[in-house]
């Protein structure tokens, strides 16, 4: 057993993106969420057209991972886990999809009507194949998430994990994504 600790973080809130508490970029507060996400994609990534098909939840989580993992992780794909949580699950997209059902149900929206899809998008991008779980609760349950992560480390199921909070509902959003590793790895 070894203690786990946060070795890097990315925060996206109020149209600002931070990495390890350093403000990397700030967009105009006048932008709506869709335009902010596009501008952030242009600033930090590009060259990944599938981004534009994602829902807001996936774009937020994917962007945070993009910023966090600027340098590729030194772990085999099966040893990187994802443990995320939020308050609204995929309700933001569920409602958009429901609107389309009245006329032509949208397959492109339907595939995002689960909150854990964001972990799939991050995994596809970075090739992760480790354990993953998505929790939904009113607030980030630090004790639950950290005990779950610790258990995965203790069982040697993972060598590193991305874990945190990816929330969006209408135009309100917040992402806090941490890279967690064993202390003796450092």
């Amino acid at each position: 057993m070894g203690e786990v600790s946060i070795t890097a973080s990315c925060i996206i809130r109020q149209h600002r993106i931070y990495r390890n508490d350093e403000l990397l970029w700030e967009a105009s507060q006048d932008l709506n969420l869709q335009d902010f996400l596009r501008a952030a994609y242009d600033r930090f990534s590009g060259q990944y057209p599938k981004f534009h098909k994602m829902d807001h939840l996936c774009k937020l989580g994917w962007l945070a991972a993009e910023v966090l993992l600027k340098e590729p992780l030194d772990y085999p794909p099966a040893e990187v886990g994802l443990i995320l949580a939020n308050k609204s699950a995929s309700l933001d997209t569920d409602l958009r999809y429901y609107d389309t059902v009245k006329e032509f149900p949208s397959p492109a929206l339907f595939v995002y009507t689960l909150p854990n899809i964001v972990m799939g998008e991050i995994s596809i991008r970075h090739g992760f194949k480790g354990e993953n779980a998505f929790f939904t609760s009113d607030h980030f349950d630090t004790e639950l998430v950290m005990s779950y992560v610790q258990q995965l480390f203790d069982e040697n199921a993972i060598g590193a994990a991305l874990c945190g909070w990816v929330e969006v509902m209408n135009e309100q959003y917040e992402v806090i994504l941490h890279l967690v590793e064993k202390e003796n790895k450092l």
Binding site: P49, H52, K53, F104, P105, S106, P107, A108, V111
Partner: protein, 86 residues
């Protein structure tokens, strides 16, 4: 046919949210899937919705899909044939 193919390209870009592709960049005979435009299975479903929404065409036999959606030209030919029948 040229007019229909131009309209289809614009509709494909819009329906499939291909923000980094301009309609005029899509070749008439360019494969829509895999090595061509790189569309996936969800996009295929969106193309079916596109036909239904814009041309009131329902694909009765799903096995026809790969043939109909091979390129913009094959889609246009299918629409034209269907409209002639009506």
């Amino acid at each position: 046919m040229e007019k229909l193919m131009a309209a289809l390209k614009a509709q494909i870009v819009e329906q499939l949210n291909l923000q980094e592709v301009k309609p005029e960049e899509i070749g008439d005979d360019q494969p829509l899937f895999k090595e061509g435009l790189g569309l996936d299975s969800i996009d295929a479903l969106e193309l079916i919705v596109l036909l239904q929404q814009n041309y009131n065409i329902r694909i009765a036999n799903p096995e026809q899909g790969p043939e109909i959606f091979r390129s913009v030209r094959t889609m246009a030919e299918f629409i034209t044939a269907h409209q002639t029948k009506q």
